[in-house]
Symmetry: C2
Subunit: 363 residues, 2 copies
Amino acid sequence: MTATLQNDSFLRACLRQPTDHTPVWLMRQAGRYLPEYRATRGQAGSFMGLATNTDFATEVTLQPLERYKLDAAILFSDILTVPDAMGLGLSFALGEGPKFAHPVRDEAAVAKLEVPDMAKLQYVFDAVTSIRKALNGRVPLIGFSGSPWTLACYMVEGAGSDDYRLVKTMLYSRPDLMHRMLKVNADAVATYLNTQIEAGAQAVMIFDSWGGVLADGAFQTFSLDYTRRVLAQLKREHNGQRIPHIVFTKGGGLWLEEIAATGADVVGLDWTVNLGKARQRIGHLAALQGNLDPNVLFASPEQIRTEVQKTLDNFGPWARGDGLGAGHIFNLGHGISQHTPPESVSALVDAVHEYSPRMHTRR
Amino acid sequence: MTATLQNDSFLRACLRQPTDHTPVWLMRQAGRYLPEYRATRGQAGSFMGLATNTDFATEVTLQPLERYKLDAAILFSDILTVPDAMGLGLSFALGEGPKFAHPVRDEAAVAKLEVPDMAKLQYVFDAVTSIRKALNGRVPLIGFSGSPWTLACYMVEGAGSDDYRLVKTMLYSRPDLMHRMLKVNADAVATYLNTQIEAGAQAVMIFDSWGGVLADGAFQTFSLDYTRRVLAQLKREHNGQRIPHIVFTKGGGLWLEEIAATGADVVGLDWTVNLGKARQRIGHLAALQGNLDPNVLFASPEQIRTEVQKTLDNFGPWARGDGLGAGHIFNLGHGISQHTPPESVSALVDAVHEYSPRMHTRR
């Protein structure tokens, strides 16, 4: 369980400590673009069958590490496990997104919500411990959850949405209900992430996938305030090791200063943000994670390499002594597409490892 | 045709001239949320049946003006008329978005593209002239088109998309093809808008609805450069009247300075942008249009009024003499939802008219 970590570049970068290259991992790196993932999912029968089985979850988490020189692993799970444990009935129809059988749409449903018994999420913690063991110190393991607001979106809409009409109707017309739901979500997410840390997660990430659909003002009140409530409860250390906290708000580029001011160690960026400008804005407060457009992976290996280099150049050399702060974890700006050719990921990961050391030369 | 304009508040605000109230209109104000629109569409049989019939198009354009004290009318049409005229075969299946029968996905299809004969769009220009006559000087008429990039998205994808994979694959792997398509689109859009101006449009708006899905860098190269190419060709005056140019990039909040630097008279803002901060950034260069979340219209009239006041307060008093520039056109941050209760629009429009005069008191 406590095998020595052989590659700590990811954890060092999260804490803005010097590294010899820029670490890289990809959101949804264990996923449908990999034929070996599809084979395991076929055996498991369903997405939740995969996520709730310790052996399968361990197997698919490690699959991308066998193929690519990734610097971190991320727990194979879903952002919606917490509302599922609240009794909302999560399912994934084939080829569709997540669905809840019992969405939360009125005062009575909101009143019934409470922080779920973590025993219902034991399959997640078991997977964390099992993956950590299987990794045997190769790279660190990242745990994660959806943000309180992102969970609320799915809990009210009952599924994905393109206009967020139901959840925003509740937000604007019954802010009292929305605040109650978000409080429960925040406390549940904090407990959930702390239990992942105790089970072996070496960093934790909060996915605020839908923060960017909120209006300015509403974002601060209904998303960021509750992300802050989670962060305030999170363990900062476990077994003497610092546990970095990562916050990723898709579409949050206008609010980077406010996101960094939460005290998150790492701020995730989508591809609309210029990495150099983001570093000027918040690089002294947090490390940055991102931010290549996943669609770049549909271009040729040469073109992928060029875009990887541009991204690394946008961040710039780490040790330039101008007080900008230096910590960059290479990633996509969003989850990898299921249609991605697996060879494209090799081109990306290899390019980061080949090109990034020049960003780490001491000046 | 040249009836004297009785309410020029919209045109004055576009040019950052003093007005006695903040003018208001709503994107997609003539649309499915109105029962009278649904009745006319029923008669017309289809969306394109409605848009291509001068009488119907005139009727539905004026419908919201009969109900609400709106300060501008906008041509009833679609952003995709230009690629339809290029021969791509636009259709709207009931309850679905637009579809093209012949998407543009390879070198041969791109090579065939050219600026369409404007005669194929005569129905649009006829509608403009007819609406202008029917308005008889009540309020000004806005013409519009999709931006070159937004047209390209639909032309390549063939329909709406949630990941823009096909169009971005072309962009990253065959930028030469994408540039050729965007050049044709830009020249076609410029000709199209100029012909709308000649037919009677008193302002024109470029909808860059999908500019915000691009990565930083790609946005400038593949969207903004071609919006600039359109603007460079647009008439600035017609019959001695200034014709304001409006550019709206949904999700463009990070790039406001660059958008304003195109020389557009008005920059449209979605709800993620803080209007006061946007004014500080670009209010001296352009008027601002926006930016209430359309989902506010699902709250109560009192709550709508509160949100309208917040929006007007965010922009602030027009005459504060601090060099920030003053021009605000109240609008939503995106098109109105078809599910909106019509009474909510009364609450919004009346609140703008009641509350905004205090923003226009000379100090």
